[in-house]
Symmetry: C2
Subunit: 390 residues, 2 copies
């Protein structure tokens, strides 16, 4: 295979991210029957490999369905929880609020521990909230893509286990899987949602959730069937178990090409020249480089200073505040003209005040691409052209 | 662009179907920001072109979301209908039953006009059912992929308008769009669902629905919000309107690569050397050829004889009964060994008694591919090797 993707602008937003040539080639796989003996083991391996990427237990159930990351919130709401149950939402930005909205759409009652833009609830606040009321679940947005705040999933999960051991721990890992350390079994995460187009290095279109044994038990013991058809685990779990055991099954047609793409990407992540641990390390190094560079330019991050000092800023992305006097039109379109695409702000309180840089996947794992340097050099030049002096 | 997909077995199931090289190449498009000025007009044109393929009115709303065809049933159930409302389901096989199951999952009450495998409810039965009870919606499976039965959407929709004009007409066009004639506005279809991997000639992973003005009104006037987050038109319609008008908007990340692929395929369907009308004609000719070939071999179709004589068999697929003494293992794996993939039966009453051939898209539009002849020649030889004598 010597496929090379078309020339294009360098995509350095916090997802979708740059996709490797060999993964895109798999996305152009010839049409395959979803029940064919060629496709079945590919899907089966993807299911197994997903557990490895997030260190999930053998009795956890990965569920992959055509959809977007957003759909993972619905998966939790409609399968694991029941209408009227209570969930505690740890606010970190746009995406934690989205998780709450999704739960509410299904009749789950949510309580937010609020945090200002760029911050996250403290462990003490979490413990205190859990002491005051019984919650069926706590939601943690591992990396809130709107702010770059990194949650301490390990510590929060431990706090939940300590104060309210029956409470389920739900993690939104859309912007963290394969970019940030995440150990579902060891840390006691009961439900994870993610998507294909960020750290997993594929095009968008695949909703991925992993249900741990306690989430599966909650699903099995629910009093009423899930009020959904397409999202119902009653429909999907037998299909995924069949594929993993080597047999085809049907509910809805799986996105075969994306599953070939994810298969290739997972093999690179797990068995490529860079180990998963090295990948996380390289992501951190790229993050440190980007964050130091913008600091040296005199730019502030959206993430609060004290969080930056205590591993509370994401390694896969950086949210950078515009310097005084500059706005998005001074920076983002100029960078795009130079062939580098960064993301605009999306936090409701501050969206015009910052931009977002993604540094995940091939862009950090393959230094020969020179993606990070290209981005930083162009950013510096564009700021200078706009009249900014550090 | 000189991309050529990898050598592979010829996929002649009723979806997913063979995908053209130029469409697969778009599915390997470099990663793009979903809000970029390059992607926005692509998505906008796809929305407009979808209306053209099914002759939908200018005030209808196409809604494209990462998902599978199955998800379109949920879209209708949760957005257009309300719990407790009544729907009349015209039974034609596995997929009409699926539509009913999906509606029931959301609390809609369904009544089926039953039909034996290979048949469809008569117009008189439809009229009679509508006279006996008031239904909010009627569901028609245009082509039931499990049987190859083709519904007469035009006549059924007219009968509904005549007997019960307030009743909404829902059409499952997953296996009919771009293969069978379908004129939403003229025929009075209020809601259509389809998917990317059949007549539209793309890989699977995109749920596509088109809501006509009456379905949109039903949605707007509903008393309670849709009990869903990911599937809610409250979330999606503003996003799709924005893209069509040339601005980006965000709810969930759209499957950008599939939308590039669909853009390419729609341009071929609408503006390629073969017009849409010619495409339907060529699909019919291929169907006639396949059906005559299997009849000459002495094989029966699953579709009842009288329906075959009255335009009641699909043009995009053929369900063929095994001759006496032969079963799936005598035919399908042998064909696969020869590089031709056909589909197994899936109707619950008869699934071991027949197999399914898809003849849609590039396989019927591009005679130079020789797909139909390759399929028929190999089928004849495999049957002969299995000891079958016409």
């Amino acid at each position: 295979m010597t496929f090379q993707q078309a020339p294009h602008k360098l995509l350095m937003i916090p997802g979708p991210i740059e996709v490797a040539d060999d993964v895109l080639y798999e996305n152009a796989h010839p049409a395959m029957a979803h029940v064919s003996p060629e496709f079945v083991p590919i899907f089966g391996e993807v299911i197994k490999d997903l557990r490895k990427v997030v260190h999930a237990s053998a009795d956890s159930q990965p569920i992959l369905v055509a959809g977007s990351g957003t759909m993972g919130w619905d998966m939790a709401a409609v399968n694991v929880l029941q209408p009227g149950e209570e969930a505690l939402v740890l606010q970190t930005g746009y995406f934690s609020d989205g998780f709450a909205d999704a739960l509410e759409a299904y009749g789950v009652k949510t309580t937010k521990i609020e945090a200002p833009c760029g911050k996250r609830p403290s462990l003490d606040e979490v413990k205190s909230a859990l002491q005051q009321k019984k919650y069926r679940a706590v939601t943690i947005t591992h990396v809130d893509t709107s702010t770059g705040v990194l949650s301490d999933v390990k510590a929060v999960a431990a706090a939940v286990r300590e104060v309210s051991p029956e409470t389920l721990v739900f993690v939104d890992g859309v912007c963290s899987v394969a970019s940030e350390e995440l150990r579902l079994e060891e840390w006691g995460v009961d439900f994870l949602l993610t998507a294909s187009q960020k750290g997993l290095g594929c095009p968008p279109g695949l909703s991925i959730v992993i249900a741990g044994p306690r989430a599966l038990k909650a699903f099995e013991e629910r009093k009423t069937p899930p009020a959904t058809y397409y999202l119902s685990w009653k429909r999907w779990i037998p299909v995924l178990k069949a594929y993993e055991s080597g047999s085809p099954a049907y509910f809805g047609t799986p996105p075969t090409n994306l599953i070939y793409a994810l298969h290739k990407s997972l093999k690179t992540i797990l068995e490529g020249p860079t180990s998963l641990e090295q990948r996380l390390q390289k992501t951190k190094e790229a993050s440190d480089k980007v964050k130091k560079f913008v600091a040296d330019l005199g730019l502030k991050q959206l993430v609060a200073e004290e969080l930056q000092q205590s591993n509370g800023a994401a390694n896969g992305m950086t949210a950078v505040c515009y310097p005084n006097g500059l706005k998005a039109p001074d920076v983002l379109p100029k960078l795009a003209q130079r062939g580098v695409v960064l993301g605009a702000g999306i936090h409701k309180d501050t969206k015009d005040q910052y931009f977002r840089i993604g540094h995940m996947g091939v862009s950090v794992v393959e230094p020969a691409r020179n993606d990070i340097d290209k981005l930083l050099t162009n950013l510096k030049e564009v700021l200078a052209e706009a009249g900014y002096k550090p």
